[in-house]
């Protein structure tokens, strides 16, 4: 394929992954590649990135597609030949997992990146032989496992999580790379740990591709998701970091949108009577048009959030977003629950939301029983203790997946809450198709709510806030 053609194909892949690349930018990319050196992968990548990625938030997607397309394909075209313990010589498959782990420990501590890459190849071959599905003489697998599956098994086989944790501890104590201060050693180590993980992933993909053909593999690969589309309920630690990073800008944008809408609507509706009265002085011609003043209906928010494990991330982000928009509300009061409920408004005044939730956990005011949420009991307690403070100006937000661990729903409590307030919205971080399956009893509560809303990611959260603020 001509390089231009390949580039356009690549840009097609970027678009398929959800990135927006304009025609002008594609042309820039072709031109950049013409003048930028192709010999060095890093420079080639930088050149493409500068021309087609116009937002730092898209870097992870770009990098993943790039590695897939250029590095993956390159590796396919020229599989490494003379690696230590290459497939023909000693038979990599004969290496036991324990031996591999030991070699890996050594290489992470003081080996080169090349050694790590070589080890990744050996480990991938071993995984293929143990699990089946790819590699020389391996038995066929009953199902088409994707590279994610093999990665998972590989990490287990190598006890990678434990190995990395041990090494990191040693680095913190200055026992690894003693020539560096501990933090730098730790950082260097982290880079190596990540490097090996990615090398292994790529190697598994390469070997799978040899077995099944490129197309089949690229279908099973998972591309990174934009931070605003990451699902709260299965976000990894790293993804939560990504989300945290974009939250301030999301909140700023949202505040600007809300403010704009308010200023557009500020004039309110035409006030006919007032206009006519003023028209008398101009002989009945309505020169001076009058508008009704719009009462800015700033709601008073009561947020009732489930902070048990499964929905904690969701609750944290929602609280954070609401607090950064607090000018838009008359007042915001917050309550946390697991199987008991407590007001946490004051706590949030002094700490970050994260810190506050940490404290809520530590101080243990929310749990009587086994640490599973009991929505019914929490609603009941809230109703008894706080519903006297609800007014027709209050909007109640309930953040929970409505999974009640088979306990009494006590939905009549919610009914009483709804009658005392203006609106009750229930935000559920689970996909709507999972509602009312298993122990989710969201349907029972729905009767008493103005709306139950699916809020799986930051994007849906922002949309909800915009519509209701």
């Amino acid at each position: 394929m001509e390089i231009d053609e390949r580039l356009l194909d690549f840009i097609g892949k970027l678009r398929a992954a959800g990135m927006h690349v304009s025609l002008a930018e594609s042309i820039d990319a072709c031109e950049a590649v013409r003048v930028a050196p192709l010999e060095k992968m890093d420079i080639f990548r930088s050149a493409l990135r500068a021309t087609v990625v116009k937002n730092e938030m898209d870097y992870p997607i770009f990098d993943a597609v790039f590695e897939d397309y250029f590095l993956g394909a390159e590796a396919l075209a020229a599989p490494p030949e003379d690696e230590p313990g290459g497939e023909d010589s000693e038979g990599t498959g004969s290496m036991t997992p324990a031996e591999l782990t030991e070699m890996l420990r050594d290489a992470l501590e003081h080996g080169s990146m090349d050694e790590l890459a070589a080890l990744a190849r050996m480990a991938a071959a071993t995984i293929g032989q143990m699990e089946g599905g790819f590699g020389r003489g391996s038995r066929p697998l009953a199902f088409m496992a994707g590279s994610g599956y093999y990665m998972f098994r590989g990490m287990e086989m190598l006890k990678y999580a434990r190995l990395s944790a041990e090494l990191q501890e040693m680095a913190a104590d200055g026992e690894i790379m003693p020539e560096l201060p501990p933090v730098l050693a730790a950082e260097e180590l982290r880079e190596r740990i990540e490097f090996f993980r990615r090398a292994l992933e790529r190697e598994i993909q390469r070997q799978l591709a040899l077995e099944r053909g490129e197309e089949a593999v690229s279908r099973t690969r998972k591309l990174p998701v934009r931070p605003e589309e990451i699902e709260f309920i299965n976000a990894s630690v790293r993804q939560v970091d990504d989300m945290r990073r974009i939250l301030p800008s999301l909140a700023r944008k949202l505040a600007a949108r809300i403010a704009r809408r308010q200023s557009e609507g500020r004039r309110g509706r035409l006030d006919i009577r007032n206009t006519l009265r003023h028209s008398i002085s101009s002989g009945g011609v309505p020169i001076d048009v009058k508008y009704k003043k719009r009462v800015p209906a700033k709601p008073e928010l009561f947020i009732l959030c489930d902070v048990s494990g499964s929905v904690r991330t969701f609750s944290t982000f929602t609280l954070q977003l609401v607090f950064s928009l607090h000018q838009q509300f008359k007042a915001v009061r917050s309550f946390a629950f697991i199987d008991r409920v407590d007001e946490v408004t004051e706590l949030f005044k002094y700490c970050d939301v994260d810190e506050a939730i940490e404290r809520v956990y530590r101080e243990g005011v929310l749990v009587d029983g086994d640490g599973h949420s009991d929505v019914g009991r929490a609603l009941d307690l809230f109703e008894k203790e706080f519903s006297g403070e609800l007014t027709p100006r209050s909007t109640v937000l309930i953040l929970s997946d409505g999974r009640n661990n088979a306990r009494d729903p006590r939905s009549e409590a919610l009914g009483r809450i709804a009658r005392r307030s203006r609106r009750v919205y229930w935000l559920d971080p689970e996909p709507a198709e999972r509602w009312d399956t298993g122990d989710s009893i969201i349907g029972i509560y729905e009767e008493h709510c103005h709306a139950v809303q699916e809020v799986r990611n930051l994007k849906q959260l922002a949309d909800f806030v915009y519509r209701r603020a």
């Binding site: 031109e31 930028a36 420079i43 201060p181 933090v183 800008s249 700023r252």
Partner: protein, 308 residues
């Protein structure tokens, strides 16, 4: 001088591979006291080759502004800077009529009785024009580096106007006609992302996100910018800074703080970084009161970072 350089560069390119050209930029920028990684150097190279502006985004103090300044030092092209702020308008960015001078002229003319038509032609001639940064960059005899600093601070309307200027490097002054750029300026826009810039502006630019540097580059920056600092001390400085950067702070220290602190530690002539030293110089690294309190509370572990 630039023209020559460019012509000979064409020839060079045939002989050298481009990797060497990128290295040359890195070397040249280093001579101008700025350390580039591959990404930054490639962006500079492309901006020059494709004649496109660079939009540099990133946290505060990572070297966005200095990128343009250093490029001007490296190439010897004069630097023209347009600092953006809320309310910046065409008059302040492009040109204004020098109305004081015009008034003086009108008064002087009253005695001579020139006709209004003649006077008007005179009043709106180049003599009375006050060129602002954009116009100066366009009309300058030779090529210049134009730094449009902190675009995100300017209003959306100004951004649209800027986009127009950057698209054709041509401005029209109703009284004088159209002014074309004699030479395309080398343009760098910077943004701290206090708001999102328009898609149109982004499309027009090469994009460069500058993040906090990796360990090795930050260490090299310290060596370059704080000459004479002991190797050992430089490492410890970096270790402490990077530790603080991992803490959950409102504003983490960036390269400028690293450099300030490294200089201070060097000047104080200490060779160990202990709790007391960190505590007494902490305000160079951490600016927010709440952050200061947080960091003061973990001085012990900080000082441990600085030991082996």
């Amino acid at each position: 001088m630039r023209g020559q350089k460019k012509a000979s560069k064409e020839k060079e390119k045939v002989e050298k591979n481009n990797g060497a050209l990128i290295d040359e930029i890195k070397q040249g920028m280093k001579g101008a006291e700025y350390l580039c990684d591959d990404g930054i150097a490639t962006a500079l190279y492309l901006a020059d080759e494709l004649n496109k502006p660079i939009l540099a985004e990133g946290p505060a103090g990572v070297g966005k502004t200095d990128l343009a300044k250093a490029y001007s030092r490296y190439t010897g092209l004069p630097l023209i800077r347009l600092q953006c702020y809320e309310g910046l308008d065409e008059a302040k960015a492009l040109y204004e009529w020098n109305y004081k001078k015009q008034l003086l002229r009108i008064q002087a003319d009253r005695t001579e009785g020139t006709s209004w038509e003649d006077l008007e032609d005179d009043l709106f001639s180049e003599e009375f024009l006050l060129p602002r940064p954009l116009l100066r960059a366009i009309t300058n005899e030779g090529r210049v580096v134009l730094l449009v600093d902190e675009v995100d601070k300017a209003d959306v309307e100004f951004e649209a106007f800027l986009l127009e200027v950057l698209s054709d490097f041509q401005v029209s002054i109703p009284e004088l006609g159209t002014v074309d750029a004699r030479q395309m300026p080398f343009v760098v826009l910077t943004s701290n992302r206090t708001r999102d810039l328009s898609e149109a502006l982004r499309r027009r630019c090469l994009y460069l996100y500058i993040d906090f540097p990796e360990v090795s580059r930050e260490l090299e920056i310290v060596r370059l910018r704080v000459p004479g600092i002991a190797e050992d001390l430089a490492r410890r400085v970096i270790a402490v800074v990077r530790y603080i950067r991992q803490m959950d702070l409102k504003k983490v220290p960036s390269i400028s703080e690293t450099l300030d602190w490294a200089t201070a530690v060097k000047v104080l002539g200490r060779d160990v970084i202990d709790e007391e030293l960190i505590s007494s110089t902490l305000s160079l690294l951490v600016k927010e009161q709440k952050d200061l309190e947080k960091v003061q509370a973990s001085l012990k572990s900080l000082a441990r970072q600085a030991l082996e």
